[in-house]
């Protein structure tokens, strides 16, 4: 019943999900109600060099399942975006598709992780650390004075708290956003981060569904009626709805006239514009989306490099150099491999 109303709420996009093939037998026990619980990671045993042919075949089957379910979702998303006026959406690195497929892409990978035995040994250290963190996330949502009561602003704040708790932990100790995370050996750290990413995929799915329903009911918040904080928090959730580019595009279109009239922040609009246009056209305007290239943080491809400074000033953003330096401080510098 819950699943059904959920599907209806998400509309056509999730109805398509019913067409996806069932997960292969090796992965199926880890999926419950459309969500993946990574548990002991026995489902990736076949990814290691010394695995038996059976285990390897199991792993390959699960990878084929993930690939086909993501590819199918991409095709449908591309069709929908073409109908919305963007015929050449690249969607290259885009995590679309049913939640469990997207979650299954997050498993521990690290140059120093070379055998399943080693994974199991490091799991003994890493799993209680990740579970401890995740218990705090759940209890903070339960015990805080946010959420509930049908109050839009408080429910929104509760979703943002969950989003931030999970999302900020990925850099685990590498930058200011996650300062205070306990130091772990590299493989244990990779395990913890993979588990947080799996949990974060579920959270972004939940918060997007919530925001979508709320916006359908009450419209997009503006700074003059709802306040800066509420607008910022709603924008943050839209910015993180990468698995649902159609919804992101819808929000961008709602924000555009409001940004021109000064009803919502121009810089928030700029960030969302870039986030979406990279998906739809492969280029960004304001240089707000960065990547690591050869150990250096750089803007992803730009519409027009010579116009960047002008666009940023018009949107009330600091210089690109200052921005990239702030990302290094918040998330830690790019690793050399990156």
């Amino acid at each position: 019943m819950v699943l059904r109303s959920f599907a209806l709420a998400l509309g056509a996009f999730v109805l398509c999900a019913a067409d996806y093939p069932d997960p292969p037998p090796a992965l199926a026990p880890y999926i419950d109600s459309g969500r993946l619980a990574p548990a002991d990671y026995a489902w990736i045993e076949g990814s290691f060099a010394e695995a038996s042919p059976e285990k390897r075949a199991e792993f390959e089957a699960s990878q084929r399942w993930i690939d086909s379910c993501v590819a199918e979702a991409k095709e449908k998303t591309r069709d929908a975006l073409a109908a919305a006026g963007y015929p050449a959406a690249s969607l290259d690195d885009l995590p679309v598709g049913p939640l469990a497929c997207r979650q299954a892409k997050h498993y521990p990978r690290h140059p120093e992780l070379t055998s399943y035995a080693q994974l199991r040994e490091q799991m003994a250290l890493a799993r209680p650390v990740a579970d401890s963190f995740l218990m705090a996330v759940g209890l903070a949502a339960e015990l805080g004075n946010l959420g509930g009561g049908g109050d839009f602003a408080r429910s929104l704040a509760a979703q943002v708290q969950l989003d931030q708790m999970l999302g900020r932990a990925f850099s685990w100790g590498a930058g200011a956003a996650s300062a205070g995370a306990p130091e772990l050996p590299p493989v244990a750290r990779a395990i913890v981060v993979a588990r947080l990413e799996t949990a974060y995929a579920a959270q972004t799915e939940r918060e997007t569904a919530w925001l979508k329903a709320a916006v359908a009911q009450r419209g997009w918040p503006t700074e003059s009626t709802d306040g800066q904080l509420v607008h910022f928090q709603a924008w943050l959730l839209a910015q993180h709805a990468d698995h649902d580019p159609l919804f992101q595009l819808e929000v961008l279109r709602l924000m555009e006239p409001l940004a021109e009239r000064g009803e919502v922040s121009k810089s928030n609009h700029a960030y969302l514009h870039d986030r979406i246009m990279l998906k739809l056209t492969g280029r960004q305007r304001y240089g707000t989306q960065a990547e690591c290239v050869a150990g250096e943080r750089r803007p992803k491809p730009l519409e027009e490099e010579s116009a960047l400074a002008g666009w940023r000033t018009a949107a009330g953003l600091e210089s690109e150099a200052e921005y990239l330096a702030s990302l290094d401080r918040t998330f830690g510098p790019c690793s050399q491999e990156g």
Partner: protein, 334 residues
């Protein structure tokens, strides 16, 4: 903001120190103390508690224990003086932990079986510490991400207790609301709980200083001014300020006349009354304060047992039996 708390904290310590100097911590603990707080770190300062430690290391631990007793007992002298000045002589303060934060935190050391070797303990600590630190890291992010939704007192009160509440809940690791906690060995669980209790001491201390400052300037936060929920949270912070019985008593006296005006919940008043009176006289009136008796929750000593359920009803509370059942459900066995 953090710096300001630290400043207030230091000022408070200095005030105490003027009457009744608290002894300096032993050298062994120095690396674990920074900015008026104790971080148990790798727990290597526990080494002398194990049978296999050499004599000088065991002597270090005796020095720590001696310092803890002096630090807490000398603080009690000062607290008793202040309570006497308010008309409450001979305050019991039997199980009350007062004194500088550092002493109270160091007092929260894990109970370990002295027959285990330090090597075993150190191995357990290496696995347990990241589990505790991951939890506290999550709590700090929660606090930053769930901060006050506005500058008003009501919003600040609503946001304030989140961290101590989330940390407190985890003390019953594996039981009650923390039933979903990852399974740990008994020693690792004890180490995690000890770290969490040290953090609770730090949070309660900062919260009490924050509220004390507000109450001194604006009086007790009344229901009509901040709303019922925020007024509850102000009470919660005082209820958890056990390290500062003088502040608890002052708040109780401020709250008392407000109950009849419906500006303070009678239930909140009853809970704080019991908390304070157990410290001052060793008995409670409403049976709101529990203790662990043979692994089960039960009320601490009561003024008049026959009157308890009537008094509780007048304070709009459930019966004692119902309360015991609720404790069992929330916290599990103790």
């Amino acid at each position: 903001m953090m710096l300001r708390y630290a400043g207030l904290c230091l000022a408070a310590l200095c005030l105490c120190a003027a009457d009744e100097p608290s002894p300096p911590p032993p050298e062994t603990l120095a690396p674990y103390i920074a900015e008026g707080a104790f971080d148990p770190g790798d727990f290597a300062w526990m080494k002398g508690r194990f049978a296999d430690a050499d004599e000088p290391t065991k002597a270090d631990v005796r020095a720590i224990d001696q310092w803890l007793v002096q630090c807490i007992e000398s603080a009690k002298v000062g607290v008793r003086q202040e309570l006497a000045a308010r008309g409450y002589r001979d305050a019991k303060l039997e199980t009350t932990l007062v004194g500088p934060l550092v002493c109270r935190q160091a007092f929260m050391r894990p109970n370990v079986d002295a027959t285990d070797t330090y090597a075993v303990f150190a191995q357990e600590a290496a696995a347990a510490v990241p589990v505790a630190e991951a939890y506290l890291f999550a709590v700090r992010v929660a606090q930053e991400a769930g901060g006050p939704r506005g500058p008003g007192l009501a919003e600040q009160l609503l946001a304030r207790p989140l961290a101590e509440q989330v940390v407190r809940t985890a003390v019953s690791w594996g039981e009650g609301m923390a039933a979903g906690a990852p399974e740990l060995t008994p020693i690792a669980r004890e180490i995690v709980r000890s770290r969490l209790m040290g953090e609770i001491a730090a949070l309660d201390t900062a919260n009490a200083l924050w509220l004390k400052d507000i109450v001194a300037r604006e009086g007790w936060p009344e229901v009509s001014a901040v709303g019922e929920k925020a007024a509850d949270e102000a009470w919660l912070l005082v209820q958890h300020a056990d390290h500062d019985p003088v502040f608890q008593l002052d708040a109780l006296l401020l709250m008392e006349p407000l109950v009849a005006q419906r500006e303070v919940s009678p239930r909140n008043f009853a809970y704080l009354y019991d908390r304070v009176m157990l410290k001052l006289a060793g008995k409670q009136r409403y049976a709101t304060q529990f203790t662990c008796i043979d692994g089960k929750w039960g009320p601490q000593p009561i003024e008049d047992e026959a009157a308890v359920d009537r008094l509780r009803r007048e304070a709009q509370m459930e019966t004692l039996a119902e309360n015991v059942a609720r404790m069992d459900a929330s916290y599990g066995r103790c």
